[in-house]
Symmetry: C2
Amino acid sequence: MMADFEAFFDYIQEISGKLLSEDDKHLLMAHFKPKKLRRRQYFLQEGDVCKYIGFIVKGSARTFTVDEKGHEHILKLSLENWWLADFESFYLLKPSRFNIEALEDLEVLQSTNAQIEEYLKAIPAFSAMASIISQNYTIANQNRVQAAISYTAEERYEDLVKNYPHFLQRFPQNMIASYLGLSPETLSRLKKNSFK
Amino acid sequence: MMADFEAFFDYIQEISGKLLSEDDKHLLMAHFKPKKLRRRQYFLQEGDVCKYIGFIVKGSARTFTVDEKGHEHILKLSLENWWLADFESFYLLKPSRFNIEALEDLEVLQSTNAQIEEYLKAIPAFSAMASIISQNYTIANQNRVQAAISYTAEERYEDLVKNYPHFLQRFPQNMIASYLGLSPETLSRLKKNSFK
DNA sequence: TATTTGACTTGATCTGGATCAAGAGTATTT
DNA sequence: AAATACTCTTGATCCAGATCAAGTCAAATA
């Protein structure tokens, strides 16, 4: 469990470019709770309020919706050192439209919105990290929207290969397809053709 | 010009829930520069670094890319009290892939990234506003990605009518179509059919 | 006033990617 | 080891939405 926090502390210090004091560390350990989920367990279920934000120490997860035809659509695929939450639900305390499910056995450190607010005030490295994360999020989302709107299936796949090559190792192909807004059949064919 | 700033101050105070002191206001006026653009002028051109972020006092704009076939894709439509920038370029000082063009005569208050950092440190109302804006952005982007990935053309249009009804008054239909990732013909037909 | 330009509509056709269906290979469970 | 369930592939068909083309109307410009 100590090891979990070491990775977390390293992450905060690296992203923020600031050091955590011993007091900071104790404060973080006081209110970030380790939580383990087995493969296929849910971190968040549709209809529930997303009370916790989780920092992924180990494992992977997907955030997805189910439409009225029963089709699943993956909004986000998440790995180590990513944050896990439906932010709309988390910030506004609205019931979530999303499910977040562990794709591999998952270890997270989780905390509440109220507690995060405290950390932002109390720990300079934490709030520096938060603004950088928020920037990165904004950029990544901007790119994802642009890809969705203006790229063809093939371009979206190439974009993924270029920007998130490790996704291909960690996630099954049908999940990648859904993340790209494609049927698994289309992605399969697309890969075959791109070899010529 | 004073009137511009009044609207800006009101906005900051309303969003943040905090008051601006006279000093705060003078500080803001010192480094937010009013800038006017006529219809069709560019706030940002593809290939340039987005050095300024603008707060829209009056008018409207679109953020778009041009693909290799010469087709335009609108990523964002912006109105009064919105912020205008390509954040990837603005934060990372990379040449932008986007164009930002005034759709109506446009008045913005603009500032640089370095100056914004100063404001975040110096003005509590400003930094409170920034975190709320950032939350709203994250939520809006999350929803936009989800709509792009999992909704049909018709559902995306209905979503827009529900969430941004004023867009229909302010933006021509072909711009709305592009924003939704549709051809103008498809949007036209779609509206006709939705009347029965 | 005449002319050009842009916004929108309507029709005909085309196509990228979805859907349906079947089979092969590989994990997982019993 | 057998049974069951996933994952991926390949083929055949289908369809939502794009593209191409033409025409109307209103606004901007000369």
